[in-house]
Symmetry: C2
Subunit: 219 residues, 2 copies
Amino acid sequence: MQNLSPKKINDLQFKVMSSCVNSRMAKFKAGEYITSFGLRQKTLGLVISGKADVVRNTIEGNIIVTKKLDVGSIFSDAFSCFSLDSVYVVSKTDTEILFIDYPQIFKKCPMNCPNHSLMVSEILNLLTDNFVTLNEKISILSCRTIRGRFLTFCTLCLAETNQNSFTLPYSLSEIADYLCVDRSALMRELKKMEEENIITRQNRHITILDYPDINDYLI
Amino acid sequence: MQNLSPKKINDLQFKVMSSCVNSRMAKFKAGEYITSFGLRQKTLGLVISGKADVVRNTIEGNIIVTKKLDVGSIFSDAFSCFSLDSVYVVSKTDTEILFIDYPQIFKKCPMNCPNHSLMVSEILNLLTDNFVTLNEKISILSCRTIRGRFLTFCTLCLAETNQNSFTLPYSLSEIADYLCVDRSALMRELKKMEEENIITRQNRHITILDYPDINDYLI
DNA sequence: AATGTTTTGTTGCAATTGCAACAGAAATAA
DNA sequence: TTATTTCTGTTGCAATTGCAACAAAACATT
């Protein structure tokens, strides 16, 4: 859920492109499938602008969103699509992707270029962010009830503010998808939680009134 | 689900301990909480021997198993326990853990020790394995039904054999935990799938008879 | 051999949830 | 503006699932 500023991204982009690793920019229109067909080896995609979803087909026939990509997000064949062939990336808006030849990155720089080690450490940070995102998703999906999933999602959003209220970053439909629950069932559960004075809601603005030990789940 | 041979692990362990990074061995008894209290910085734990579970408390009050650790598995504060403070590691048997000071690894080796780059590339492989494991878990949890989750789990197991049958690596109780479903509900669903001639089962040995397009989900 | 513990198997019941279908509101495009 | 698409909201119904509780089997320990 953490985004990088455009400035930081441009900076990183510059470092990558002016360093010794193999990389390539590519543009995709909204709705297009994003692939790294240009580079043969395992590549890592860095979102320079736009939005995209990492989606997968479940064995049940549903299409679910694993991860929502924003400026600064990374994704990779090697990291996401390895064990199951039913994972792919779809652009939601026009996007620019910087593909980076991944195995090369961590090797010793043959040219001793000044940006190499800086780039490496920043990409490592992106990788750990990626781990965090996956773990957030697992935290959500590990809950058996819609209520648990939604409130877990809320704690993740709240961790970035320091209040007890926040604005949902996506539409309720998209959030239902992300939580892997039926949208109408989510609506029903939201109403229920309002009735039980656990939350209040005006459109996408949510306030957490009370939930047992919810503070234990905030950082 | 991929394990490394003891030989490979001993080899990696040797490389780590004889190289320039900060590391330390620790032993834990069955049932103990595994922590890296010795090292201040972000550390990465490598299982040298024994078994352990990465578990987390959900907001609903359930305890669920995120990942099952075996010889060669890695885990890390930085990668697992970042955003939620309710994640911890418990040993199932007596275990030996090699803690490695993580941010140091990818820096230039000040001693130019011969093992450094080999160690780095092997640890990177472990990291990608870790990504794969997390993604497997997400694939499972993204299914809304017990049937979908179980069959997804089966495809992951089958990917290692080249047959249509395999033996469940854990007890049914543990598998129910891993799939985040109720054990009795899993038993019920297994019986149902047998009745529908989707699978057969003798104890922990499962044979997949037929499921629409299940081959699409195998590598 | 006796004991305790974990695993497996079963069932009734209540609660949650997905699904389908519809309709109005809001946003976007033409 | 009008038209079109997406988003929000609601409901009935059926199916799945979790929960609780129990008992037998398998396994481990003393």
